[in-house]
Every structure is written in structure tokens, then in C-alpha cells.
Amino acid sequence: MIGLVLMWAIWAIWPTFQYQGLSDAEKEMLREEGKLEEIESRTIKQGLDLKGGMYIVLEVDLPTLMETLAENKDGKFNRSITSVRDQLKRTPEANFFTLFTSTSGENNLKLSRYYYDYGSSNSDIIVALEDEAEDAINRVLEILVNRVDQFGVAEPTIQKQGDQRIIVELAGVQDSERARTLLESTALLEFFIVKDINTTNQLMIRIDQVLKGDTSISAVTKTASKDQLNDSQESDDQTVSVSELFGETEDSEASSDSAVVDENIFAERPFSAMLRNLGQTIGVPEKNVYAVKKILERAEVQEKLATVGGKFLFSHKAEEYPLVDGTLETMYSLFLVEDAAELTGGVVEEAKANLGPQGSTSAGQPIVNLTMNSDGARKWSIVTGSNVGRQVALVLDKKVHMAPNIREKISGGSTLIEGFADINEAKDIAIVLRAGALPAPVDIIQEKVIGPSLGADSVRSGTLSVIIGLGIVLVFMLIYYRFAGLIADFALIWNIVLVLAVLASLQATLTLPGIAGLILTVGMSIDANVIIFERIREELRKGKTPKAAVSSGYDRALTTIIDANMTTVIAALVLWQFGTGPIKGFATVLFWGILISMFTAIFVTRTIFNSFTSRKGFTKLSI
């Protein structure tokens, strides 16, 4: 029987060795022959911490999902959602629906007004919305699987955890940034008509007027003395620290971090002073972005925006623009667009990344070609037909990618998006557009990225410590127990092989803590042998024959070993139950390690001893 187990162990562990020995080219060859998958399915996988890669936990943004589902949103509804959002920030472990129910109650919010399709009483609607949320997470999961498949990662793990979370593990992924963007992107494509320049200018004047009356901002103008000037700047530029502007305590004195405004116009027009005129669009210098966003979030500014029925959107990336004096400044563009989107990404039938065709304005630039379905094509031709001469903004995830002027009515439903940094970005956007938009935005609530070099380091040092640790123990046992030590050494090696074999057949993932668990198993396995050998020695000292000593030594050590190991098994099981990722790996190895070491100590070494002691003429046991 022992022989059978040994044969099984070697059979189980063989693919792992085979796989480790393969070069990349050989792997590629085997992949083509279709044999690689068979081998891979029988190897021990390396965890993120050994192979490098990323681990991300995503959570569906429920408040936003509920906002999207609601109809006839009014101020009362918006205030309630904002209040729930704030409460979630303060008590992150609270349940969204519990908060939503209680807040609706407090604010006397009749949910049937906003969610009339979902039921009539508040409690019915909450139940229906919970179902809707669960459905949303399932769709998110499906879409993410689709995206990752198209992105091309070997053995991704994408699974749901709890009610509203998704865990994504991409081992060995090289460009973690790209993968992250791909997962996080809501892929919400919208087409907005940009408001004409007159409306925009008038609105900005009104915002300036509102802010001018605000003492918190005019106070800044007075206190910001000339001493704070950055001397390399033009003399009429004054720096205003964003923190000062909003009374935050964090001090940032270095002027290079602060918003750059024109001092002369700052007092009169605090908002437009932050901006630059770029002809058709408004420029926001990179350093002013945070300040401008903060201003736009203010309630009085939001009110002004509501009166014109528009909203501000930033461009997707910053570009360098020449200033009057010839220097370059990096700026984002700011667009005032209509409140409601004319068309959304749901109409996209096909999206392909390409380089812009020769002769067009985007020649050689990465672009994404969109084909719309018939419904989309019809709407698109109406939108373009009735807005000739105006700008249309192509907005992806609330960021404007491009805002071309509509020259003529576009029928046929195809269009292209430009404004990508490189072809990879265009490819990824095409992937997310094809896979469809997420029903709700997702937040990354936990992420872990292990660089490939750290992983390789860990493998090296892990292997090294296993070998050295094992070596020391093997030599020690041999010196201390001589012949019996040899048997124990054999048992130990066999033990490790067996643990690896079990891991391979369970398709377990070996992590760094897993290696630590393996080393600990070495200790535990030796302990069982030590307990037995010490007992045998005691029995021998009492004057028993080797055969009798071995037999009673094993018998008496048995309960000790079982009791002693069971408690560690309990600890391992609890760890396994509680553990995430690496801890689970540790617990798995420890659990199997202990079971196997009990097996080897009780059966295997005993059989070996018996085969020697039962020989005729065996009188002295070397122990």
C-alpha cells in the first residue's frame, strides 16, 4: 500500500516538474498541440505573490445604481441619496438598503414616486431594488469576465464575494495599469450636444458673480500677499493655495502646487480667473483642476448650472497649449454640455480599434470605429441632422474624448472616436465598448499588485530557505538518531513529496505563506518522529528487546501524536475558514502537511522498522 501511495505521489507531482522545466518556446509549442492545458491543469499554481500579478476587489456603487434606476428625481430625492452616501462614508460597514430605508423614512420620501415600476409601498420597493442590485452585480460579473477574456490573461479568477463584491485575480499580468483601467471602466458612452459659446460665457459671468460675494474666497484674495509669488512666474500671476481657498488645515506652502490665477482679475472674477480661453473651448491648467472641481461642486454653482440646464465635463486628458508669451502650459479642456445625453452606448453594435486612415484629420492616430444598431443609427442621424454647425461631445465615463463640429447629417450609424494616448488604449476602449457598459459604476475597494521582480525574489528566497531548513533538519536527525534518523529523514522527504502531490491534485495555489507552511510541516513531521524515537529509547533503557521496544514505543506515542496534532489541525481549519488568498494557502498546506505527517509517522516508518526488527539475528537497534 505504501508503494502505491508513493507511485501515486510521483504521478501527481510529475506534471509540475515537467512544467517548471519547460522554456517559454516549448510551452508555446505544446499550447499549439493542445497539450499544455492538460499539463497545466495538473500542476501546482503559483500564487500572485510568487508569480507577480494583481488582486482587485470591486464593489458596485449602489447609491449611483439607485440614482440611475430612479425616475422623476427631485431635490428631496437627491438630498436623501447624498445623505445615505455620507452615512456610508462614516460607517463603511453599514448596509446600504438599511440606510436607504431609514433615510427615506426620516425624509418622508415616497419611493413609489421614483420607482413606480417596482411596487407601491416603500418596503416592497426596497425588496425589489435589492433584487435589482443582485441582478446588477451578476451582470457586472458577466461583463468583467467578457472583458478579461478579450484582454487575454492566462487563468484569470473572477468571482463574486458576498452580495455586492467581485474579486479579480490576474496572476502574471504584466501591465497592471492597463488591466486596472479595463476593469474599472464603466464604459458608459454618451453623446452630448455642447452648449454654444454665448450661453457658456454668460453662465461663467454669473458663477463669477455668485462667488464674488463669497467672503471665503474674497478673504483669500486679501491675505494672499505678494510675498508668496513664485518669482519665476509672470508678475501678474498670483498663486492661491487650494487648501487656503477651502479652509483645509493641510498646509502646502510650495507655490508650485497651488492654483495659478491672474491676480488682477481674481478679485473680480474668481472663477474665470482659474481658466484660460482656448478659442472654442475653455482651458483649465493642470494645477487648477482640483480647485475648479471644488468650485463646481458648490451648491450655489450647481444652482446656476441648473438654470441653464447644463453641466460641465472635463476632457479625457491634458494637452499642451502655447500661451501668449510662447511658453507651453498643460491644460484640460472644459465643456458645458446639455444636461441629458442625446444617445448612449447601448446602441453600439461593434467597436474596433484602428489607426486613422490616410488623408483624414486623424491620420495615423489611434481611433475606435463604432457601428451602431438600426435604432442608434436612426437617432444619430436625427441628432446630427438637427444640430449641424454645433459641437457634439463624445463622452466616455464622464470624460470628453472629442468634441467635433457637426458638418452634416450622419446616416448609417457609424462614427469614430479619437483622443487616445496609444493604440493599446484604443484597443482597450474597443474591448469595453464591445463588452457593454456596466449597469452601475464599480469602485476598487482593495487592490494589491505584486511586481514580477518581487515575485521572483520571493520564489528564490522561499526555495532557498526550504532547502537550507530541510538540510539542517536532515543532518541533525541523522547525527542524533543514526539509523533511526535515516528512516525519519526518508519519511520527511516522502512527506514533502506527498504534500506537494496533494497540492497538485487539488490544483491548489502555492503562495509565500504556503511555503512557510511547508517549512512548518517539516517541523511537525520531525516532532512526530522525535516523540516515537524518544519513547523507543525509553523502552530500550528498560531492557526490552528492539522488537518489543519499537512495538510499545509506537503504541504509547500514538495517542500523544494524535492529540498534539489535532489541535494544530483545528487551528489550520479555522485559518482556512477565515482566510483570504495567502492565509488560505498557508492553512491548506498546514492541514495536509499535518495529516500526511501523522500518516507517515504512524504507518510508514513503523513498517520500515518492523521489516528490520523482525529479521532473525537483529539484536541491536541503532537509535
Binding site: 464593489e59 463603511p92 460597514e93 501591465d175 495599469e177 493655495s241 487650494v242 487648501s243 493641510e250 502646502s252 510650495a254 508650485s256 497651488s258 493642470e286 483642476v289 482640483y290 480647485a291 469602485d443 475597494i445 482593495q446 487592490e447 494589491k448 499588485v449 511586481g451 514580477p452 521582480s453 518581487l454 525574489d457 528566497s461 522561499g462 532557498l464 530557505s465 539542517i472 533538519v473 541533525f476 505563506p513 512557510a516 517549512i519 512548518l520 517539516v522 517541523g523 520531525i526 516532532d527 522525535v530 516523540i531 524518544e534 504509547r556 500523544t560 492529540d563 498534539a564 489541535t567 494544530t568 487551528a571 479555522v574 485559518l575 477565515f578 483570504t580 495567502p582 492565509i583 498557508f586
Partner: protein, 309 residues
């Protein structure tokens, strides 16, 4: 070969001295814990962002610190010079830890890494992938959940073990074993606090392993006591316990030594990521061996003596 000949050390006679020693070490740890306001938790539990990067030449932490004094992300400026910045593994690798910020910019960890990359041109690898050793961020929600889970794990492990020992031995043995465990974990926690090391997820795993190891040790001695109680009823209880500890002493020493070597190797060669895990194990092996002799057994003796009076 034998290291330990037959011994007859009066362990139970030293129990007062041992109690003073244990009390002293635990007190030092507890004082340190109180002063520091509890154990120092890693971002796993507290939430926050951690970035480790690899430069091409040795870096001065002060230089990195001053570079982190002024981090500008999308027009929002931060001063991270007072955050935890230290070498990671070798002198040319640096790790930066920043606590959770409510209003954090998108992709915060990467932006910090970018800042570390751009601040020292010429001293970084050409490829950014080689530069970033690792990065991670944990939201406050996850942190709170994990803390709860970790506490639950330790409590349920202790509860199950208490049950197992009560069934296999006697209830007072279980009390002795649990006291020894609490002793071990408290001391390890205290030493970690004194050294200023943080408690991360792997360290919790190490604690539970210490629990398992220390128990293993304790139970081997208890097993001997159980056996000797059956064999001879005439001896005084504490003499018999002494006897049992002496009987199993050579096993205790050899097992502890081999395990100690193994975790020592892990500590020396296991690499940066596993360093503190191994340290917790080293402390655990030493304290665990000590506690099975000087904490668990005396408590059993004490409970027995009070019960028979």
C-alpha cells in the same frame, strides 16, 4: 547520541520565579501597547495605501522623505513627508505607506509610484514595471471587516481547542493550555509592539500557528501527566507533574530546537515579505516551549491542589 540524559529538575519549584518573569515581560508589552494605543495595524486592517519601489542605486530615506513632502496629483497637493517611509529589503528599495484619505484621487497608489519615479530621474529602471515592486490599497470597509474576522478566527480557534482538550483530558487541563496560549500571544504581541513592527494578515496567521505549536508542546506534556497519573497514584501531584516534564524533556528540547532552526532559516533567508512572519514564529517557538513547562503545567497543579483541599 543523547543531549539530555535522565534529568530530575524541580520545575514546579521554579514556578514562582517563572511567574514573575512572565508577568514582567507581559507587563512591558502591555505598557508598550497602552502607550502606542494598541497594536500597530497594517493597511490590511486600517486601510491605506502602500507602495514599494526599486531604485537602481542605494537611496537615502531622508531624500525620499523630502521628495514626498510635496506630491501633486491633479492639482491637489499632499505632504507625505511625515508618513512611514523606510527601506524595503535592501538599501535601494523603498516602501511608502500612506493612511486612508477620504478625498483620495483616482488610482492613488499608482500616482504615488509615479511621483517616486519622477522625483529621482537617472536612479530608476527604464521600465516602470521593474520599478514597482508592489503596491496596494485597502479601503476602510475591508479593513474593518478583516479586523472583525481576525478576532473571530482567534476566538473560535481558542474555543474549539478548549472543547477538544476538555473532552480528551480534563477541564483544568484545558484552562492551563488556554492560559499558556494567551500568555504566548500576549508576549509576541507585546514584543512586536516594543519593536514597532506592525500586525498584518500573515502575522495573524503566525499567531494562530504559534497557538497550534504551543498547544502541541503543552499536550505532549499533558499526555505524560495523564499517563503517569494512571500508573502511580501514590506520588504527590506536583512531584508527578515534575516527573512528567522531565520524562518528556528530551523530546521537548529536540523538537523545539529543530523547529527553531527551521524558522530561523526562514527568518534569515525567507526574504523581506516573510521576514516578520518568521520573527513572530521564532518568538512563538521560544515562548511556546517555555509556557508549556512554566505556565500550563503549574496552572494544572494549582487547580488540582485547590480542588483537592
Amino acid at each position: 547520541m543523547r543531549i539530555i540524559k535522565e534529568t530530575n529538575i524541580n520545575f514546579m519549584g521554579q514556578r514562582k520565579l517563572a511567574a514573575i518573569l512572565s508577568a514582567f515581560v507581559i507587563l512591558a508589552g502591555v505598557i508598550s501597547l497602552v502607550i502606542n494605543g494598541g497594536p500597530k495595524l497594517s493597511i490590511d486592517f486600517k486601510g491605506g495605501t502602500l507602495v514599494s519601489v526599486q531604485y537602481t542605486e542605494p537611496m537615502d530615506v531622508t531624500a525620499v522623505r523630502s521628495a514626498m513632502g510635496n506630491v501633486n496629483i491633479d492639482g491637489q497637493s499632499f505632504d507625505f513627508s511625515r508618513e512611514e517611509i523606510k527601506h524595503f529589503g535592501g538599501p535601494d528599495a523603498v516602501s511608502v505607506r500612506v493612511p486612508h484619505i477620504d478625498d483620495a484621487p483616482e488610482n492613488f497608489a499608482q500616482k504615488i509610484a509615479d511621483h517616486l519615479y519622477d522625483s529621482f530621474p537617472g536612479r530608476v529602471p527604464d521600465n516602470k514595471t521593474d520599478f514597482i515592486l508592489g503596491k496596494g490599497s485597502v479601503g476602510p470597509k475591508i479593513g474593518a471587516e478583516l479586523s472583525g474576522k481576525a478576532v473571530m478566527a482567534i476566538i473560535s480557534a481558542l474555543g474549539l481547542i478548549l472543547l477538544y482538550i476538555s473532552i480528551r483530558f480534563e477541564f483544568r487541563f484545558a484552562l492551563g493550555a488556554i492560559a499558556a496560549l494567551a500568555h504566548d500571544v500576549l508576549i509576541t504581541l507585546g514584543i512586536f509592539s516594543l519593536l514597532g513592527f506592525e500586525i498584518s494578515l500573515p502575522i495573524i496567521a503566525a499567531f494562530l500557528t504559534i497557538v497550534g505549536y504551543s498547544l502541541n508542546d503543552t499536550i505532549v506534556i499533558f499526555d505524560r501527566i495523564r499517563e503517569n497519573v494512571k500508573a502511580s497514584k501514590r506520588e504527590a501531584y506536583h512531584t508527578m507533574v515534575n516527573h512528567s516534564i522531565n520524562d518528556s524533556l528530551s523530546r521537548t528540547i529536540i523538537t523545539s530546537l529543530t523547529t527553531f532552526f527551521v524558522v530561523l532559516v526562514l527568518w534569515l533567508f525567507g526574504g523581506e515579505v516573510i521576514h516578520n512572519f518568521a520573527l513572530a514564529m521564532i518568538i512563538g517557538v521560544i515562548v511556546g516551549t517555555y509556557s508549556s513547562i512554566y505556565v500550563a503545567s503549574p496552572i494544572v497543579v494549582h487547580l488540582h491542589e485547590t480542588a483537592s483541599k
